[in-house]
Amino acid sequence: MTAVAHVAPPRSLTTAIHHTFRLMQRSVLGRLRQPAALAPSFIFPLFFAALGSASFQRMSKLPDFPATSFLNYTAAGAIVQGVLFAATSSAGDLATDIEQGFFERLLVSPVTRTAIVIGRLGSAMVVAVAQVFVFLGIFMAFGARIETGIVGFIGLTVSGALLALTMSGLMSGIAIRSGSPEVVQGSFPMVFALLFLSSSFFPRQYMTGWYKTVASWNPMSHVVEGMQGFMNQPLDVDMFLRAWLIPLGISIVSIMFGLRALSNRLAAQ
């Protein structure tokens, strides 16, 4: 060794993209190498879907039911559950990095700081896309159909990725602020409550009272209904507006929250 410092090229957009991609790759690998941590994001939504299909199959015969079968109805909700679950776990990994010191290993290197967060968000999106493929494959194997065909398939995939972006941005912010995987996991029930207070499991037209009011104001209902539209109805613009634009809009806020949390953490040091 010559003991002369290797001077890396100055930071540029290319460098930032490269750092982001490699950190995203690391996060995805980390997810894949923890099957026990990834499994619940598949098992629980499928369990709820199986339970719902077995219990409420005859609900699809009710007037105005928005799907040809309960299985077709519940697919979107299952995807949303799975994606939110996995995105939370991904943010939990970020908190683990902070807790165990890997985050500091990154900070002591000339890594582009935003790549630490954006790479994590990117990995959540990649996992979400894979989840949509797996969920749709399983649902279709049991008789579900995507009424809007390939366009609907793409619609559902993009929507799943955007939801993952939204959730992981929010949870990454919590991870960076707290530095605790337990706090991240502890925040998830609030999201789950949001899911239960939406039309993920039952159509809004069958709800009554405060439950219906809350579900109608809940943006999650509109995202899920947009995704249900891809599964069950003829293609129209409303599906894209609800399944894409709502999560896209919220994701901008949640990404800013995540990056602000990073900026605050760095400033506090």
Binding site: M1, T2, H6, I98, R105, V108
Partner: protein, 332 residues
Amino acid sequence: MTSAPIIARGLVRHFGSGDNTVRAVDGVDLQVNQGEIFGFLGPNGAGKSTTVRVLTTLLKPSAGSATVAGFDVASQADQVRRSIGVALQDAAIDPLMTGRELLDLQSVLYGIPRDRAQKRGEELLERVGLTAAADRRVGTYSGGMRRRLDLALSLVHEPSVLFLDEPTTGLDPMSRLTLWEEVRRLNREGTTVLLTTQYLEEADQLADRIAIIDHGKIVREGVPRDLKSAVGAPTLLIDVDASHTETARSVLARFGDLRPTSEGTLGVGLTQGAEAVAGVIRSLDEAGVHVRHLELNEPSLDDVFAEATGYRLEGAESKAEAPPAGGRRGPR
């Protein structure tokens, strides 16, 4: 590089505010010269790691200034990061990745071209004896292997200055010796090393110069041999029955300065040298003190530490422990 690779002037880092303020680093002046192994010695909570975290840009100084590799740690943090290698305490390495993957990632973060990174990665794996384990996940590595990988990761970009924060804490004696040898080898090749440790032997064996830090302040600095010589007389340690402690203390005081020791032991710096031992024994016997154990020690770094701080380093925990910084762990 014309100036010293590491210079700190009046470096301060405090945590908290108001009545809860803890000055973890309290006016540290430091200069580490080109090609030195510099040992930073002190107990847990003395301020060693906090100083290293400031010098490696992980923490901003509250006051004072520091340059590393010629760059200011506060205003030129990015240049500092490109010039230094850092192996932090606990070898925080992703257990889910393999050694080779981590080296590859590290190379990307430092902007090393792919072909060069591969060659460098192989060199480093061989150097730290991890070639055979390179494709195994780090979670399966032993503590010593993790430390060696940590060292390899810190060397990917051929830094001119290397920070090792308690690199051998928790390692078995064989792993410790292996790591020491690697540090010496790096130093022979021209790398300046700042090493924090709470092990006296480590500082004594490795460091060209040391600084002793206690309660955030440097209390002694110099070449280990000179520091030990300055302490002067050899130390006589004796164990006596608890009922004879006070009598023994008054007898010992006639032969030199009483020195801080661990509980249950009395120590005296023999101003007339080792020749005075026979006289001490005779006097204790005449005073009716039964000596259970006796030991004569040449001055050690622990004596230097004790002389400077009033307590022994071994088993010591400084009272300057700072509160946790962020979500991870408190500075040391």
